[in-house]
Amino acid sequence: MAVAFARILRGAGLKAPLGSVIAFVDALGQVGIQERSSVYWAGRATLVRNPEDIALYDHAFAAFWTDLWQLLPTVTTEELQITLAIDDDDGDDDGNDDDSDSDSGDEPMITLRFSATEVLRHKDFATYSPDELRSAQELMTQLRFIGPPRRSFRQRPDRHGRRPDLRATMRASLRTGGEPITRCWREPGNRLRRLVLLLDISGSMEPYARAMLRFVHAAVSGRQRVEAFAIGTRLTRMTKELHSRDPDLALTRASDRVHDWSGGTRIGECLRTFNDQWGVRGMARGAIVVVLSDGWDRGDPAVLAEQMQRLHRVSYQTVWVNPLKVTPGYAPLARGMAAALPYVDSFVEGHSIAAMQQLAQVIAGAGVSR
């Protein structure tokens, strides 16, 4: 029965690995299945691991158990039937999408050899043919994002360090009969700053959003500590979906996850959600935040300005990438853009590969800010 329920959950899009199902069965053994609420909470504690999944769980729970309870007291054969239906096709464990190993090959920026790619580099994404888009995506996956490090609390041994490393000194002293002759030192190490990418996927961004999603994927799969969100009519986190190294798989997953492709834009509202639920709590603190958007916002510009200000206060650097910036005579007239601009540290263009490379450099060389 529990297994059947777990399968329903998987069908509803919730990951329920075998270990959790076993825990659920154990839990049911403890609380019993007489009380609807005990079963509900036992499942919540063992099968749900994200607050976002609670709604899914509630739905599946209502669908599955409510019917089952009506069956339970009368017919027991019915119950058997359900169990059987499950056993034959078990073992389709689909939870192998979290290979988050980062690429350690720190090759610098790619060098472009072919003249075809050279042309491609400066071409506007909006004018790409599907083929060109594909080869552009190839190029983009080779971008590397490093970014300025920040001092870590974790200390590393360092001969020229300034803090005594007692542990190592002690060890070394054994060699000299307990006399601490060799002194060892340590220094705080460096850590990458978190990189947060917020991609506008609204209708006005349509010509660029797909290409930029590639860019976002390159960032997420190529570097540690990257978070990616889509902003449209609402905020969708897509870090996990983009984690796969296979770009096609990652992009498909991300598109499935995001429901409001090419819809309206409410950048301000989305930023507010981001700030409330993720950013100000810690994700954006000391991070490099990159907003990829044309700044066309249907919402209230005051909200956008307020939220950008909030974001700017906690982040290390805020970058706004606007694909329209390259247009001759462009001025940030979109109300949203104008409202956000005072709180942006770097305002860069984002219409082509070359611009994206420049963006990677901006991220790498960040440090103009605080």
Binding site: P17, G19, S20, A23, D26, A27, Q30, V31, S37, S38, W41, A42, R44, A45, T46, V48, R49, P51, I54, D98, S152, F153, R154, Q155, L166, R167, T169, M170, S173, L174, R175, G177, G178, P180, P188, R191, R194, E227, T239, K240, N275, D276, Q277, W278, V280, R281, G282, M283, R285, E306, R310
Partner: protein, 307 residues
């Protein structure tokens, strides 16, 4: 002896006797954590009482509360164990002064230094090597602040309940501690760690439960005041604030009002004590825009509606 509750309701009852009123979900999770001996991962807004769960569990079971506050860069020497280097050096000096070390080989000298008496046990090792009859309560606070590497180590400790100190050997728990992890979701805790744990998302309490919490924690406040404060906080949570007040703020506020000798909310006292509930200037502005008089009025209505 270790306490073993037989139903989630037992847990809820026992906790409320010790100053914490859980809802049914939390009580079930705690019950399961105790009976299945699994760590309990609590997530939720700041100030909803995640850390308090570990404290009340410690008060109830009588197990020692061992707290590990996680932070960026935390490593084994701060979380698990370290050697007492100054004592080791002193020991070497003493051995030298008495001439004891003359005849010793390096290996023997080393063996002398790495004994348990020179070991400084940090939180995790304390919890694992605890020898009392009552299992301790291990609180791993804000685990999302630690690094991924540390999380991996934690996973190992929490699944086996044993720790190996290379120089000494293995410590394993006779009574596995009751483990409570909290996270503020500044980043996702790794799935593998989540799978080890039972999970509960702690919500803001509903009105009646919040009243009960205030009555329990701030006994000097009159019932009418408790109801009005809970009503006002409920309204505040609907105002779209940066940081909606949590239970911790509700309790602070009720305490502040009780300390001022107030029996009812009114506009003036709300204005004077708003800083105990709302900690952002923007939030205070927004509340003033909403109108303090309106807030007080809504709170009064709410406090009377259900009584």
């Amino acid at each position: 002896m270790a306490i073993s509750p037989s139903t989630p309701a037992d847990v809820a009852h026992a906790l409320s006797l010790h100053g914490y009123i859980p809802d049914e979900g939390l009580a079930t999770s705690i019950f399961l954590a105790m009976t299945l001996r699994r760590p309990l991962l609590l997530e939720g807004e700041a100030g909803v009482g995640k850390t308090e769960v570990a404290k009340v569990l410690s008060r109830w079971t009588g197990g020692e509360l061992i707290r590990l506050q996680c932070y960026e860069g935390i490593d084994v020497s701060q979380a698990v164990y370290d050697w007492d280097y100054s004592r080791q050096l002193l020991h070497l000096r003493a051995a030298e002064a008495t001439g004891e070390s003359q005849g010793l080989r390096t290996d023997d000298l080393e063996a002398q230094l790495y004994q348990e008496k020179f070991l400084l046990k940090r939180a995790l090792l304390q919890a694992i090597s605890h020898t009392g009859d009552v299992p301790p309560v291990l609180l791993i606070d804000e685990v999302d602040r630690a690094d991924d590497e540390f999380e991996a180590y934690l996973l190992e400790v929490l699944s086996e309940f044993q720790i190996t100190v290379p120089e000494l050997g293995r410590f394993s728990a006779t009574h596995p501690p009751l483990v409570v992890l909290t996270s503020n979701r500044t980043r996702d805790v790794h799935d593998a760690l989540k799978r080890r744990c039972l999970y509960h998302w702690v919500e803001h309490p509903d009105f009646e439960r919040e009243v009960a919490i205030v009555q329990l924690r701030v006994p000097q406040a009159l019932d009418s005041l408790a109801r009005q404060v809970a009503g006002a906080v409920e309204t505040l949570r609907t105002l779209n604030l940066y940081k909606p007040p949590g239970v911790a703020e509700t309790i602070d506020w009720a305490q502040a009002l009780a300390a001022l000798g107030r029996q009812h909310l009114d506009e003036a006292v709300v204005a004077a004590t708003l800083g105990t509930v709302l900690k952002y200037r923007e939030d205070q502005d927004r509340t003033r825009q909403h109108g303090l008089a309106a807030l007080v009025k809504q709170a009064l209505e709410r406090s009377l509606a259900t009584s």
